[in-house]
Amino acid sequence: MNFVKKNRSFFKYILFGLCLTALFLTAVLLNRRADDKETYPITRVSVILPHKDDGYWNLIAEGISEERDALGAGCKIDINMILPQLNYNIAQMTDLLKQQIAAKVDYIVVQGNEDETFRDVLQDAWEQGIHVICVDTDISDFPEHLYVGTNNYEAGKLMGEELVELTGGSATVGIISGEEQYQNLQERLRGFQDVVQEWPDIEIKGVAYDKYDALTVMRLYHQMADEAEVMVFLEGTGGKSMESVYDGPVEEYEYVLGFDAYDGAKRRVLDGIVKQDTNLMGRQVVREIEQHIKTGNYSADCIYTDIFWLTAENYDEVMK
């Protein structure tokens, strides 16, 4: 013992070395084991995204992933995000929906649309006990489900109010939307119209639908320039297309307004956009699923996320 006491510092190093080695080996093995360990049963969630874009649905997907990661490894929720081969292709999305039903997943998260087949399949899912959550766009008259996303009527109103402020209540307006059967777009249009109809000097020259296709957007954009001073895009594809095609302010229209084209607003291609809180949409979906697993209830049937009016002037403040 005297010998050990005498050479205490040396044995300290030896002990430290051994501990370090043991710790390293343990960490390596535990790390390997941790890969294997997943608590079972696990709630399987399938998120069917309509489109893999850079500025909207990928932000919602990021929100979902971030919130899932934030719940930690102990959380028994597995989220699988899947996409149709073609953007916004309802037939492919319906087929994906059927696959999830066949796989008997626990939750299905989709962007709602009013396509009949899609609705029927979604109804099947609901009847088989699969929980349905609509994100970004709701489905009208669908049984017990959750909606997480923007209050689209309010978003349309915001767009209208900003238009009035920009034009002083006098303008001819061209509107480009996505597709008619999307309830969210119809609500935005309704909100927008409700505001501008109080201003007699604001005239809506027409509403066109781009089918979520950039080439169609540009064709309609140029077509409507002859009779409209202001271009309003009621969904993201319009603004996104503009920001891809133009580097700065456009000359064909006095004002161009849109949705969710952040970079376009920053570069003044668009004079203002309605920015939806996409990240919060994704996060809120996961939070609600977790709560539903625990309590059997969502916090509400309809959860609206924030909207902001984004321009080049307030870009840094809003994006912060």
Binding site: N2, F3, K6, N7, F10, Y13, I14, G17, L18, T21, F24, L25, V28, L29, R32, D35, D36, K37, E38, Y40, I42, R44, D78, N80, K98, Q99, Q100, I101, A102, A103, K104, V105
Partner: protein, 492 residues
Amino acid sequence: MKKFGSVVKKYVVGYLVVGLFAVLFLAASVFINRYSSNRYRAAIAELVSISQLETAVKESNDGMNLAYLWLADTGLEAYEEKRPVVVQLLAVTDQQVEAHFVREMADTNRMIETYLEKCDILGKELEQYFKDDKSGDYEKLGKLYNEQQEIYTYVVSGFQRVYSFRLNQLNKMERQLNSLQNTITAVEIIALVMAVILCFFYLMRIVREMSSSIRVMMTGITAIERDVFQAEPIQISSNDEFEEFANAFNGMTQIIQMQMKKIEENANVKERLAEMEIENLKIFSDLQKNHLDFLQSRINPHFLFNTLNMISSLARIENAEQSARLMEITASFLRYNLDNISKTVTLKQEMENLKEYVAIQEYRYGGRYRYDFQVDETCMMFQMPCMVLQPLVENAIQHGLAMKLNGGCVWIRAYVMSSRIFLEVRDNGVGMTAEQIDEVYRDFYENNRSSTHIGLRNIYQRLQLFYKGDVQFELNNMNPGLEITITFPWEG
């Protein structure tokens, strides 16, 4: 008793540590290899069972196709035969999913369940169709078959996703295991090198410690060679034979130092004894000489004493009273000297003898000098050496008052003060200068035999011997005259 380690033990510990590291890493290496190969084998086994399940599902679907497309009974039989196999293999893959969750596998397994449900429904409808002599609701059968085949398509694509996932997983696992093995190998090499380096430094430390111990011991030995008393104990804290040796060496040094000190002390004592012996011999020699001088001087007093007694008797016969009286006093004076010279006497005896001397001097000088005695009665019985006062009075008469024709006086005082007896003899004669007094003192201490103050020095030395040095002898010039004061200790 402190237990010491040993140099051998230290070396052994160093090598043991390296050995321990080697064994540890060897064991870790074996363990990790086994773990890696087990994992790989398990993954392959899972893949095989998935493949078996896929084959079973495909064969069951072949049966359903045969039954529906060719309206063959054997198709349903083939399905019924394969169904339990599918269920059994499904249970196996379900266990795999439970063991470690794979979403693709879980989804595919549930799709197979859905597929079996659809197959069962279709199978029942076909069975009924066969029972009803091959007649029934063709539209319904067609719808069921399409649904069943749609699900089968999903199952097939599910298997593709599972294979894709599993192969990716295997690929990832292989890369992980390779990376793990590379890391482990690197760590093992680094750790072993570190262990060897550590061991090297440890052994170097032991060697340096030994070298340092030897140097310390050499320094200690050199210090002892130089001066055994100045040598500091050697300090070694190596906890081995060297420390043990150093302790023994320090013990031996202490013993040597103690013995040397004793020898030195004995030598000092012997030296002091020799000096004392020499001193004693000197004193003895002086005493012998004094005794000889005294014996020589005794011849005359005895002769004179007898003669004086005879003359005194004749003087009385011839009526010469004064002469007879003088003879008697002289004889008494001489008898005192003769009888008491080597004895102690009382102050009273000494005073009586002094008075006889004074009486003789009165006859001689016929009242030329006056004598004043002031003696404290309390100290009359004080014991002292004989013939102390008379030589002092004689000295005062012969040297102090000799030139004085009248008015000469000698004061003799004896008193006690502060536990000491004071004897004073004072005259009012010529006195002594300071130089003369210093010369007297020098004679006292230097024992100069050729001095002119032999009488005073003799008194001083006798008193010093008698009172063992506790005597004060002072000469004071009183201008006129000289005062000699002697003090002794008074014990009541």
